[in-house]
Structure formats: C-alpha cells, structure tokens
Amino acid sequence: MRKKWTMTAAAVLLTAALAGCSSGGDSGASGGDGGSGSAKDAKVAVYGSTSEPVIFWDPSESHSNEIIVLNNIYETLLRYNAADDSITPVLAESYEKSEDGLTWTFHLKKNVKFHSGKTMTSADVKKSFERTIKLGKGAAYILDPIDTIETPDDQTVVFKLKYTATLDLIVSAPYAAFIYNTDELDKQGDDYFTKGHEDGTGPYMLKSWSSGKPVVLTKFADYHEGWSGSHYENVVFQTVADANTKAQMVKNGELTYVDMLPVQQLNALKSDSSVSVVTTPSYQNLIGFLNTKSEKLSDPKVREALVDAFPYDRVVNDVMGGTATAANGPLPKGLWGHDDSLPAPKYDLEKAKSLLLEAGVKNLTLTLTYTTGDSNQQQIAELYKATLAQIGVTLDVKPMPWDSQWQLAKATDPSQRQDIFMMYWWPDYANPYGFMYSLFHTEKEVNYNMSYYSNADIDKLIDEANVKAGVDRAAAARMYGEAQAKLNQDYPAIWMYDQQYVRVINSKMQGFVDNPAYPNVVFWYNVHP
C-alpha cells in the first residue's frame, strides 16, 4: 500500500516539477522579474497594437495600420492639430497661398537630415510627392488636386493646383504625404522600402523587424529637433490581439500604451493608479446604411421608423459603456464640418410603430449584415433585433467576413443585397469630403455608398463644398452642414454613434495628446517618460 502512495506522489511531483522548472527559467531570464517588461525601463516605450502594425513599408503605399510606425520614421511638411483646428510646422517652416488659392508655396526647414545622412532639399519633397502620385496606391488619390510641383531653390517648394483644395490639410495627411529619400530607391531598387527598409527624417529609425515579430525603432541621433530633454530612446510596436492579455500587460507595465480595450477591461483599469485612461473624440463613427433602393425601404417613412426604433442611449451607455457619443449626422464630432445645431435622432418606439402603420407596412422582414468577429457590432445588432421585434419587424442578423459582406452589398442583382449594412468610417485626412463623397454621393458603380443613395442636390452641395474649402473653410463647413440637414430629412442611414478613442497608458508617460487626425498614432518624440 505504501508503495502505491509513493508512486502517486511521484506523478504529482512530476507535474509540479514542470511548473517549477518554468518558474526557475523565468527568474533566471530577465534579471529576476517574473512579469516584468520593457516599459519599466525608462527609455523604452512599448505600443500594444490590436492588429499587425506593419503591412506597407513603402511610405507611398501606406493606407492602414502601419501609419502608427511610419509617422515616427517619416515626417510631413505640416501637422494638423485636431483639438484646436491649428497647423504646426514640421518640415516646412512656413507657407502661403495665392489669392485664387491655386498656388501654394512652402519654405522648408534648413539642415534636416535623412537617416542615411543626406540633407533634405526641395527636390526630395518634389520627388516624394511625384512618386506617390505616379504609383497611385493607398491614399494617393488625396493628392489629386496637385497639378505641378516646382522647386525654385533648395528650400522652396511651389505647388500648382488643378482646382482649389485644402492643400495645407492634404500635406498634413497621415498617409500619402510623407517625405522620404527617393535617391535610396534609385540606388537600391524600387522595392527597397517594401522589403522593410526606410529612409525618412523622423525622430526614430527602424532597428529591427520581421513579419510576426515586434517592430523596434531606435532614436535617430541627428534628428532636426534635437534630443535635449527627456525622450523615449527605443520604441517597440507589439501586436497583442487578445484583450485580456493586453489589459494585464499594461497593468504590469509591460506595455506603455494600448490602442483599445473592451469596456469591461477599461472599467477594471480605471481605478488602477499605475495607468491612466485618456478619452478623446475620434474621427470614426458607426453607421447603419439603409438600402434606399430596396422595395421594402424605398418609402422614407419606413426608413424613418427604423431610425426611430434604434436604441441610441442603450447602445452608447450599455454596449459601448461611454466609449461612444450620440451622433447627429455622418460627420463625427470633432471633425470640422460637424454641425452641432443638427438635432440628434431620438429613440421613439411608439412613433416608429405609427410610422409603419401609416406606411401600411406589415410583417416586415429585413436583413442586416455586420463584420464577423466584431463583438460591438454583434451586440448592437442583437439589441436592435430585440427592439425591432417589439414593433413586429423581424431582423435577420447576418455576421459575414468583411469581403463577403462588401461583395454582397455590391451584388449585381440589387434584390440580393442586404437591407441594413453596418460599417465604420473615418476620413483619409481632416476633411469632411471623405465622408460625404464616399458615402452619400451618387456612384456609377457601387463602392462605399452602401445606402445606394442618390440625390442631385446633395451631390452638388458636396462637390461645391470641396472646392470652396481650399479658399474659405468656414463657408465650406456651412455647406456641409446644409448637406447633412438635407440628408437627415431623407433617412438614408442610422447614425449609430461617434466613436471615442479610449487609450490606456502607463501613468509615467507624460504629455500625451491623442490626435484623431492621425488615427491611433502616438508621436513618441512628443511624449516623455
């Protein structure tokens, strides 16, 4: 009998030994700190990103999440501050535009060095923009107004435009406006950057990267703003998809900054003194596009009923837990052109019911599509479904992979398309045109106008406002306001909410300002350990 017990004990010990050796390995590892991380080292910052930080290394092709890295390696002529609608000089010291708004002159800062050591001149600016336009990839279409670029001397760049446009905002864009050393591409081949190299003027240089591993940046000693004062010297961009892990890591100080977290984790972290939670209105919103071409929804009364039946307060407060605000139109709060005077839609189930009665609609069955795996969209869709059921409308909720969702929306046979399409939207740079034109301007071929909306009056307003913006931004904003008011009378979509950016940062990270014009970007040079 005793022998049996020893054997059992042996087996238990074996299991324990496995855990034991692990802990031993760990303490031997990074100098005896079990869950320690880089953020505890004062000079290293770690950015915890939900999705892979780099896809496009080529600054001309960039159009997605890589901008969180590229904006620390490359710089633009100017930078736009969303908070106070102002512009800060970066590579250009100053600029002026002609009376007619068609000629813009930029005066470059002197002694700006590329990471390869070369001094930046106006020729580099010209060549960067010209290459981006020529490639035509990513967000290059925002450069469409540019006709020619001239370089009267090494420090001066003159842009001639085809039509008036907000060139100051365009050259501040988070993508397609980076200045880089094109000579390096002539020497090393045009895919040199794509292969994971860089040559920018920014404060940080690429130290190491390979697919699936963190991106590591290190300080560029000859940076034109200098390195006096306290700065992070190394920046790591790490992908942490799992929310739990991310929350734990920022709590332990392994991450300096976390781009987003579900409400539950945020609430748990709010009382934690080792982190701060920073909330800023973003340029992103969630819209439920109503299929105006569908027979079921062609009557604006029915669409109005759907708009009234959407439980705005519960979505903003319960599902989003205060990480979103009520919306009153397609343009999110914080982006110029947003009109505070427009009334926000109100949840009114009784009104929705009587509207449906008026329209003579019975037994309405609608399909709604959203992107698979997005738990916010899923919860909102199910909440909306439960609400609609109360007024006798059946909502068939379909989660689909984004491609399939979009493919269905573009189906050649309109009767196959969905009735309601949930989609996030954000602008390519600080300009309402990206919202208004892409989402509600008449389209010959369906692309992003998921309401299939077409209204000549509104088309005209959008087109005119865009051209006006280059000369008189205030007047353009009024025109966008008018266009939104008109849209609201037609009920082409449900303005579900305006997103708030909620970042969790280490409490030691100082001077952080979230700039929604550069989505998810932290300008690491401007924050201090």
């Binding site: 739990n244 748990a268 919860q379 439960a386 059921a389 909720v397």
Partner: protein, 284 residues
C-alpha cells in the same frame, strides 16, 4: 488474481457508470431546457443590457453575459444545439461510412480497391484543416461545420467495417450461408452487420467526444455556429475576451463541453472492455 480482476472491473464500471450518468444528466438537462431555464427568452434573442456581466448568484447561477443574458439558460439551450449537432454528425458519419465499407468489403474487386483508395485520400487530410477549408468555402455556419466534420469522419468507419467484413467473410457460417445461396442483403442483415456492430458502437461513442470537441473548436475559431446561436463553443469564444475579468462567461459554457467529452470517453472505454476486449486501450 481472480479477486483483483473483479475489483478492477468494478472500479472500472463505476467510472463507466459515472460517465453514463453525466451524459444522461446533460442530455436530460438539454431536453428539459424550456422547463429548467429560468430565463428561456434569453436564448431567443432577449437582451437586457442593464444587467450585463453579473457574477454567478442565486438569480443567475452561471452569471450573465455581455448582453445581460442568463448564462445558465443559454448553456441549457446550447446543449440542445451542441449535443444534437454531435449526434447528427456521428450518426451520418457512421451510416455513410458503414454503407461504403459494406459495399467495399462485400463486393470486393476493383470497386473495393477504388473505394478504399478514395477513403485513404480523405483520411490523409488533416481533419481540422478540411473542416476549416469547407467553412471558408461555404461560409462559416454550424451546418457547414457539421458537414465538414462528417466529411472527415466517415472514412474511419469505412475502414473499420470493411476489415470486419473481410474477416467475417472467411468465417465458416458466412461461407456456408453464401454456399447455400442466400441473397447478399440477407447475409449482410443476418450475419455480417450484427457481428461488426460492436466495434462500431465502441468507436462511435469515443468519436462522439472528439466531434463535440472539434465542433466547439470550430465555433471557437469563428468557423462554426454564428451569433446569436448559443452553441457552447461559440459562447466560450464570446467569453474569451473576458477570461481574466469575468471568468464565468467562458468557464460555464466550457464546463459542459469538458463534461460531455469526459463522459463519452469513460462510457466508450467501458463499452470497449465489455463488447470488444481485443481493442483494449488502443485509440487513434
């Protein structure tokens, strides 16, 4: 010797009985879900965002989820989906596999050769990978995940049945039945099927567990059941985000998956010892 063996079987059977008891309990609970569930409407689209993420309590035995739905009710209803889906998958796989195996084994010749090579080819696909490819071909849904599982499981039964039949064909009583001119159908019904049944039952009871696990895994990866289904694997995957903050969300839907698989494995072990002692302890 005799005595210890008896004790061994007793103990073993206690485990087997335990397995069957858990299984019966799970099946019963799922069947009686409409009567047992305290909030049956929660499994049918009701949403109460005001009581989201409540920890387990008297009112909500398993706590509530992100939409304020009672997890105990969801898990009860989820059992109906998960268990019946598993049943369908196993029954269809066995039926299809057995039919092909019967034909191959009984007819023999080039048909046998062809069918068995085809079986080999299907068996060479990693099961999860096949399931995953089908899910991506037809779009993620519970029925597609089921189809994928059935497609990758049937060949095992074809192999099993065929080898049984090849053995049995040469058995004296079958040979004499053939010689006495009985029809193929009669011989299969009378002699072959009953004799090859027990290894199939054993195999199927073990596989049932793996199928439940695979199905849950597919749903977990987003390639099986889709919301607002209450399939167990899907519930776990929805609770995944909250493991460290609201442990009950993933834990309680995960528990019945584990229990079902354990119960089926214990039951399968016991059945094997009782029905088919030759295969003792061999799993694939």
């Amino acid at each position: 010797m005799g005595k210890s063996k008896l004790i061994y079987y007793m103990r073993h059977n206690a485990l087997v009985t335990f397995g069957f008891a858990i299984l019966a309990l799970l099946v019963l609970a799922s069947l009686l879900a409409p009567w047992l569930a305290p909030y049956p409407q929660d499994a049918h689209g009701a949403v109460h965002t005001e009581r989201a993420f409540l920890p387990p309590s008297g009112a909500h035995l398993f706590g509530t989820d992100a939409l304020g739905r009672d997890l105990f009710s969801l898990v009860l209803y989820g059992g109906r989906i998960s268990l019946s889906a598993g049943c369908i998958a196993i029954v269809v796989s066995v039926a299809a596999g057995a039919l092909i195996g019967l034909i191959a084994g009984y007819v023999g010749g080039w048909i046998d050769e062809m069918l068995m090579r085809f079986t080999d080819i299907v068996l060479s696909f990693p099961p999860l990978l096949l399931a995953v490819s089908i899910a991506s071909l037809l779009g993620p849904s519970l029925s597609h995940a089921l189809l994928a599982i059935m497609l990758s499981w049937w060949p095992w039964y074809t192999r099993l049945i065929r080898s049984q039949i090849v053995q049995l064909r040469s058995a004296g009583y079958v040979e004499s039945a053939i010689v006495s001119g009985k029809g193929a159908g009669a011989i299969m019904r009378r002699h072959i099927l009953p004799n090859s049944l027990s290894p199939v039952i054993v195999q199927a009871s073990m596989d049932f567990g793996s199928i439940i696990l695979t199905l849950a895994g597919l749903s977990f990866l987003g390639m099986g059941a889709q919301p607002p289904s209450t399939e167990w694997g899907l519930l776990v995957s929805q609770g995944k985000t909250y493991v460290l903050s609201n442990w009950w969300y993933a834990a309680f839907p995960g528990l019945p998956i584990l229990l079902t698989a354990v119960a089926l494995n214990l039951a399968g072990d016991g059945l094997r010892d009782l029905l088919d002692p030759r295969q003792k302890g061999v799993t694939r």
